[in-house]
């Protein structure tokens, strides 16, 4: 038994030494057609567990491989929808030899993490980080949440009937998306149309089930509801399901949301939802990779601060089917 233990210990030591030396070995550098070393780009999606995350990830990968395949070596570290994983993920990427990190982060201040990248001479490009402190230390590609909200708010101001009575379903309290999207409705719809009355508003936390329950209760209270606006399409479709389950006709109410994804497009095509606003993943990927390419060519400094906005677009009956066809092509509708 003692002999066995000794043999086992010796084998373990040999294995550990081999692993250690293997780790210290020189890594073969990949070079592109231009002869210049490929830049290692690590993409960190917030989550690959929801449609937008999947769409964004697929689009990034496709463009990175097709358009920038000779310049970028692409890899992905998923953040598992957990803000606490960000520091570890960034450190791991640096250890792996990342030249640039492209991260779709959460609503937290990551200035220190970004500063770590700056100190290590690793590029950092944020996606949709609507925080001034980030844009002041590195590049940030974002949609302006207020503009996104305005897309729908302007449409509402033009199309809501006179003396309309409306209800609002907000996202989580305190989130930039909640604050700015709601502010857009106030400034671009309510302020310009003083005849409109807000009957009530609640935080439904981007949760379809919660939005459905709240709307079911609203239907017991208000006889006339001309429109329901929600800060996300999931909540809007939840409101529509509340009408169905309560046996109330959806035709007398207009439904507005934000995101413009499959659920919304299908609902618009079926004449239930009225309009939504889209932040196109294609635009995000194109613009972000352009910034990364500029760093590769030297046109742009490694962590030169800058804000790059993508344009949101309105989704309504005129283009919903077109978007649906695109989602089907991308494999986002099964």
């Amino acid at each position: 038994m003692k002999k066995m233990k000794k043999v086992f210990s010796v084998i373990m030591v040999i294995v550990m030494c081999v692993v250690l030396f293997a780790g210290c070995g020189t890594q073969k550098e990949e070079k592109g057609e231009t002869g210049k070393k490929k830049m290692k780009v690590v993409y960190m999606p917030r989550t690959l567990e929801e449609m937008y995350g999947v769409w964004l990830n697929d689009t990034f990968k496709e463009i990175a491989e097709k358009k920038y395949g000779d310049f970028f070596e692409w890899s992905v570290i998923e953040l598992g929808n957990d803000a606490t994983k960000v520091p570890d993920a960034v450190e791991n990427a640096i250890v792996q030899g990342a030249d640039i990190i492209i991260a779709q982060l959460f609503l937290t201040d990551y200035t220190e993490i970004v500063q770590t990248c700056v100190d290590e001479n690793v590029g950092f490009i944020g996606i949709n980080m609507n925080r001034e402190e980030i844009s002041s230390v590195t590049a940030n590609v974002a949609v302006n949440e207020f503009d996104l909200g305005c897309c729908v708010a302007d449409y509402m101001a033009q199309n809501l009937p006179e003396n309309a009575k409306i209800l609002l379903l907000n996202g989580p309290s305190g989130a930039d998306a909640t604050i700015d999207r709601r502010r857009a409705v106030m400034e671009h719809c309510i302020d310009v149309r003083p005849d409109i009355t807000i009957l009530d508003e609640q935080y439904a936390d981007f949760d379809k089930n919660l939005a459905m329950n709240i709307t079911e209760d609203w239907l017991q209270t208000y006889d006339q509801i001309d429109a329901i606006w929600a800060a996300s399409d999931g909540m809007t479709t939840g409101a529509i399901e509340a009408y169905r389950s309560s046996g109330v006709d959806t035709k007398n109410t207009m439904f507005f949301g934000i995101d413009g994804l499959t659920e919304a497009c299908q609902s618009i095509v079926q004449n239930e939802m009225t309009a939504s606003a889209l932040q196109d993943a294609q635009l995000y990927a194109e613009l972000t990779l352009e910034v990364a390419y500029d760093i590769y060519t030297g046109e742009r400094e490694m962590n030169e601060p800058g804000k790059f906005y993508i344009e949101p677009s309105l989704v309504d009956a005129s283009n919903a089917q077109e978007l649906l066809d695109r989602y089907t092509e991308l494999g986002l509708i099964k």
């Binding site: 989550t47 449609m51 999947v54 609640q202 709240i214 017991q220 479709t237 499959t262 079926q270």
Partner: protein, 324 residues
């Protein structure tokens, strides 16, 4: 010492009153809540709103029954929300493949049973605490369904939504499903030998073992029953939302456990009944409904819900102490 017969009579009535209060305390609390709510909002007592509340608690009610059966047998399940999502999503897929609502629903129930049976086997055969085993299952099930769906939501599930949104006469189908399940659970717990075994295992597992009960199989059985209810809840939830939503049911286990405890199911096991569990779910539904009707801020609702839950359980415990 002389005993005053009048005093004895009064004391007897008082004891009887305490006993009734102890037995039906939670029902009186619910009645009181309904009376208060009827003064707070004119539409609260309308038949339409009462059906609305019943419809809203149908899914959480089924999950409450699942937790109730487990708590009674001395177990707990933290994976019901995730298992509900898995069962619901797969129920929709089975429905899509077969075009049969019945097959879809049965499929959902079977998936729920499979997941919960794994929990039961891990707990009863490997002696891993239920808290740990079901927490692990929660993570695994949530991950599995997100990998399976790729996070993609399917909308407009067709006729399957009937079981979540349809009506039989004036009564919503989910309410009928909830009530039928309650009757079946009542028969199981109160009128069968296995039901008594569940109480015995939850009350005192050593005594149950000593009296010849196969504790391992009884625990496994409780998980199987809970799994069937969870699977049914999954099918119902997706039908209600008219979507195959892989993220559905997040946090539902907490609400279900709270509802069961409010309904008088002992957290330590061996005590409670299914009607109490139903009342527990109803109290949660009534609170949410009245606060929405009164336009109370949703975060304020959370605070009030927390306070009212503690008050309801404290009152119930107090009345039970009186019983002893």
């Amino acid at each position: 010492m002389k005993i005053n017969p009048l005093q004895l009579k009064t004391h007897g009535s008082y004891t009887r009153f305490r006993k009734i209060l102890a037995e039906y305390g939670i029902f009186f609390i619910t009645l009181g809540l309904i009376i208060i709510c009827s003064f707070l909002h004119e539409n609260f007592l309308s038949s339409r709103n009462l059906l609305n509340i019943a419809r809203q608690i149908s899914v959480i009610g089924l999950l409450t029954f699942a937790e109730a059966v487990l708590l009674i047998s001395g177990q707990i399940d933290l994976s019901v929300g995730a298992a509900m999502a898995v069962s619901g999503v797969l129920a929709i897929d089975i429905y899509t493949a077969t075009n049969s609502i019945i097959l879809g629903t049965i499929g959902g129930i079977l998936i729920g049973i499979i997941i919960s049976t794994i929990n039961g086997l891990v707990v009863s055969r490997l002696s891993i605490p239920a808290f740990i085993a079901t927490l692990a299952m929660q993570m695994a099930a949530r991950g599995a369904i997100l990998i399976y769906t790729g996070g993609i939501i399917k909308s407009n599930i067709g006729e399957f939504r009937t079981i979540g949104q349809g009506y039989f006469g004036q009564i919503p189908i989910p309410v009928i499903i909830l009530l039928v399940s309650a009757v079946l659970m009542w028969i199981l717990l109160e009128k069968t030998t296995i039901g008594r075994k569940l109480f015995a295992c939850g009350g005192n597992v050593d005594a149950a073992r000593a009296s010849g009960i196969n504790v391992k199989n009884t625990i496994l059985f409780s998980y199987i029953v809970a799994g069937a209810l969870t699977g049914l809840a999954g099918a119902l939830q997706m039908a209600r939302l008219n979507s195959s939503l892989p993220t559905a049911g997040e946090g539902f286990e907490g609400t279900a456990i709270a509802s069961a405890i409010i309904g008088g199911i002992a957290f330590a096991g061996g005590e409670g009944n299914i009607w109490g569990a139903l009342i527990g779910a109803l109290i949660m539904g009534i609170l949410s409904n009245i606060l929405n009707l009164m336009s109370v801020n949703s975060y304020m609702q959370d605070i009030l819900n927390g306070l009212i839950i503690v008050a309801a359980v404290a009152l119930d415990l107090r009345s039970k102490r009186g019983k002893r």
